[in-house]
Symmetry: C2
Subunit: 108 residues, 2 copies
């Protein structure tokens, strides 16, 4: 989980993901979109591969990279959990308040 987040938390890697989100691209062509050197991009691709956010396919001497959507599921559901837990907490707070108010009315 943290590996995925760490992989996402870098501007060049985010840009790589955007680049290959709509089409499979070879490493060289990806690198050409950046100011950094080709090895730098190659290393970023490796990080993204390890995190399971992209996948690689070899075709002759080229290596084609594409997004791996399933890789994002874990991150997605983690965020959803934060959202859900918070909503649940708010809900309980409201219900608690309602109970208190009803009790006060009863006493009066």
């Amino acid at each position: 989980m943290v590996d995925k987040l760490k992989a996402l938390a870098e501007p060049n890697r985010l840009e790589i993901l955007r680049l290959i989100s709509h089409e499979e691209l070879p490493a060289g062509e990806i690198a050409r979109h950046f100011n950094a050197t080709r090895p730098a991009i190659s290393q970023h691709l490796h990080v993204l591969l390890d995190a399971g956010l992209i996948e690689e396919r070899r075709e002759g001497t080229r290596r084609l990279y594409r997004l791996r959507a399933e890789g994002f599921d874990e991150v997605r559901s983690m965020l959803k959990e934060f959202w859900d837990v918070r909503l649940q907490a708010l809900k309980q707070k409201v219900e608690q308040k309602q109970r208190t108010q009803r009790r006060r009315h009863g006493r009066k």
Copy 2:
């Protein structure tokens, strides 16, 4: 955006977020859940604050922290975008294939 992702990409900070996701907690009580020293946690809280993922409320000498759900929206929608763009790409691919096949049928 990258700030939020970087803030999320650290185990202790993730745990802090989980801790305060259902209840507002003072800094000291948060720190007590960890092996790290209190200053370390204080620094993590600062990172999370800067990223807009949590908010602080002062009460006497204590500082209470709670999740800031809006802070997660940007991350959420970024992930959604990756998902959507990929779906769109897949859709176009299928339609392309269908057109090709129809053409072949026509020629025969």
